[in-house]
């Protein structure tokens, strides 16, 4: 055969494969050094900020994982905000009613899954524009939670941190990483689980094919519609976990509109992380860190900045990320388009 065409085939050298990790590795090392220095200077504050980083990043990473699952399968989900909000409320109400925290968390996840099913239905079966579908979910959640919310409910406790044995005693790292409540641990575990799922299992391969080239997947016998449904529903459950986190782990009560845009920031986290679970986790930590610093500055009153200006930081950061000022990235090629069997 024409061996000339084979010689044009690209071979991937070591340098090519790994050169993109150089800059992040250098930055990470610098960061590590900075943390150690700050810890020496003021251990209490450093620990508080890092712990707050983990706390603030948890709903973001869960939301981003939801977005990743949906978009990798080809469904754009801007209804994460609504999923979080409604799940926060249902989890809260379940707790008030039953006192059973585990059950409440499950109810939250189920709520998210149900809304995910709604999005899948409008996007896959009705072939409705996915952004409108997500908007409907947001408005529905806002309306329902506002309508059904009553003040003065008493919760029966919230989820407590669970120390992981000896690991929790390591200075700095211990209390920050190894003494967290269950949903926080779950979020971190999910990051690695999804990374493995997407890139090392056959179902992950099929999911990604459906998001990139659904017709190719269809010709190989993969059920595009079912794949999209399943991924969107599971993604919804994860977003539901984020909602449950807000009321059952972070705050302990419900408030109208308490998600406050986190669902949209999660989308920026997903884009920043290049639709990759581990990348998104790092991005979530970054955003969480920004939030933590914001609270810290307010608390210390160091700079004389009105709190609203600090308040806009996550939103401005999101705009910057989405505009590609921190690097271009390619979403799954077929996302947002309804699949027609023709």
């Amino acid at each position: 055969m024409t061996s000339s065409s084979l010689s044009q085939v690209k071979t991937y050298s070591f340098w090519y494969r790994y050169k993109r990790y150089i800059i992040p590795s250098v930055l990470a090392t610098l960061l590590l050094i900075a943390i150690i220095i700050f810890y020496r200077l003021n251990p209490a504050v450093t620990q508080a900020v890092l712990a707050s980083t983990i706390r603030q990043s948890t709903p973001l990473i869960l939301g981003a994982l939801c977005g990743i699952l949906c978009e990798r399968a080809g469904i754009v989900n801007i209804g994460i905000e609504g999923q979080m909000l409604l799940s926060a409320w249902t989890a809260y109400m379940m707790n008030v009613w039953s006192g059973n925290l585990l059950l409440s968390v499950i109810v939250g996840a189920l709520t998210g899954a149900l809304l995910g099913m709604l999005l899948a239905f409008t996007s896959v079966t009705l072939k409705l524009n996915q952004i409108i579908g997500g908007t409907v979910i947001n408005i529905l959640a806002l309306g329902l939670t506002g309508f059904l919310y009553q003040t003065g409910m008493t919760t029966k406790g919230k989820l407590q941190p669970i120390p992981l044995g000896g690991l929790a005693d390591i200075p700095l790292v211990g209390p920050v990483l190894f003494n967290n409540p269950p949903i926080t641990y779950t979020a971190i575990a999910l990051v690695f689980l999804l990374q493995i799922y997407l890139f090392m299992t056959p179902w992950g391969l099929r999911t990604r094919s459906v998001g990139e080239h659904p017709r190719a997947a269809d010709t190989l016998g993969i059920n595009v519609f079912r794949t999209r449904y399943i991924n969107t529903i599971v993604g919804g459950a994860i977003a539901g976990l984020a909602g449950a986190f807000l009321t059952l782990e972070a705050v302990g009560s419900f408030e109208r509109g308490m998600t406050n845009g986190r669902g949209f920031v999660a989308l920026a986290v997903m884009i920043f992380g290049k639709w990759n679970p581990i990348g998104a986790w790092l991005a979530a930590l970054l955003f969480g860190f920004a939030n933590a610093m914001q609270t810290q500055f307010q608390f210390m009153g160091t700079f004389d900045i009105p709190h609203q200006f600090i308040g806009i930081i996550p939103y401005v950061l999101t705009i910057i990320v989405v505009s590609g000022f921190v690097g271009r990235s390619r979403p799954p090629a077929a996302e947002g388009e309804p699949y027609e069997k023709e």
Binding site: M1, Q8, V9, D218, I222
Partner: protein, 508 residues
Amino acid sequence: MEPNYVLETKNICKDFPGVKANVDVDIQLKTGEILAILGENGAGKTTLLNIIYGLYSQDSGEILLNGKSSPIKNPNDAIKAGIGMVHQHFMLVPVFTVLENIILGSEVLWGPFINKSKARQKIIELSNLYGLEVDPDTVVEDIPVGVQQRVEILKALYRHANILILDEPTAVLTPQETNDLFGIIKILKEQGVSIVFITHKLKEVLEIADRIIVMRRGKVVGETIPSETSEKELANMMVGREVLLQVEKGIAQPKEIVFEVKHLTVKGSSQMHTVHNVSFEVRAGEILGLAGVQGNGQTELVEAITGLRKPDEGMIILDGKTMPIQSPRVMVENGMAHIPEDRHKHGLVLPYELTDNFVLCTYYQQPYSRGAIRDEKAILENAVELIQRFDVRTPSPHSIAGNLSGGNQQKVIVGRELSRPVKIVIANQPTRGLDVGSIEYIHKTLVKMRDQGVAVLLISAELDEIMGLSDRIAVMYRGQIVATVNAADTSREEMGLLMAGLKQQQSE
């Protein structure tokens, strides 16, 4: 009595809204046979094969495998039955590697994980057995089209296909790559694979097929073998009447240079899509054909010279004036007409009425608008006149463009472009996907423009069209012009060599 056919269809019928795609189609495929299905665009060949492969389901009729009725409801059934299909537009995920594309949906497992090394082994085995060289770990979007096709074939063989369906496989290949493909097909036949081959290219059918079935308007209209027929006879069967295979034209009288491209370089989205230091000129009264297999930079070249894409280097000179980059409007105002490659994407706004489509490029000029306000009366009059002049079959000038047939849509575009005073017409794949009647019309129109002193740049992947219409031909290969020849002095074989980059022109 009758030999057992490995694949047979009986009375397949399939209707789509407004069109009967398949009407009582009976075909038979013998084991180890190469069956060619020949027909025009829209004859129903692809529909039939999509039904056999389970992508569509027939309205009535049955499919038999080895004599037994076997309902095929989805591609999984087809794959299980040993049917593999290579589509005209490849079904490959661009960002996946060759390996991932091949195993998708039929992965070998190691626990819950994909066993890549085992898969790789099997692919290399198959690749050696059938002579289909590939590198399993390259990303598909970086490999050339001919190699991508091998991946598609390997996909079918990986799933133990013994019936292979190829839909217009040579549409994207050079004559050399086509020869390679035919070699592979012969090897497959020796190994006992039965092959169904769809095409509209008469020469290929006569070269490779064991048996030929001709379809027209959804029906089987003829069956024959290569030794008992000719190109002309096949063409007549395909179309149902006497077909003029040659374009009638007189000798060209080229005059001054109207359009010049100098040192044009466009860095495309990948290796495959660049234009490198291209220069050429077109004269008034001549047709310059740009030949080359699709994917050698033609699309990017045309986008650059019509103002749709920014070139990285180079100049475009129209009517003696240097054109600013990326401004289609200035080009239009200086006498350029552009019949785009993709009429749905660039050429028309499908939801608009014909009235608006006819003034798509000139709506801001008088008489179609006064200042910023549109003159709907003038726009309507223009549409009425052009519909008449260019024989557009439509019930009304207010018809929606999307409702017209492909041929009539193309006539709208041609009418719009050629009714302006033009100095150069850039016609990019102007007859792709059209019925024979429309093709003849467009060819005649282009020759007429040439004879009226207009310069014509024709870009086409159909070698016959290029050779039939052009006065001079420039050959593009891997983003460069490798030769410029006179059409009358060059044989088809020579063209093939030039298009495959295997022969460089000696002179400057």
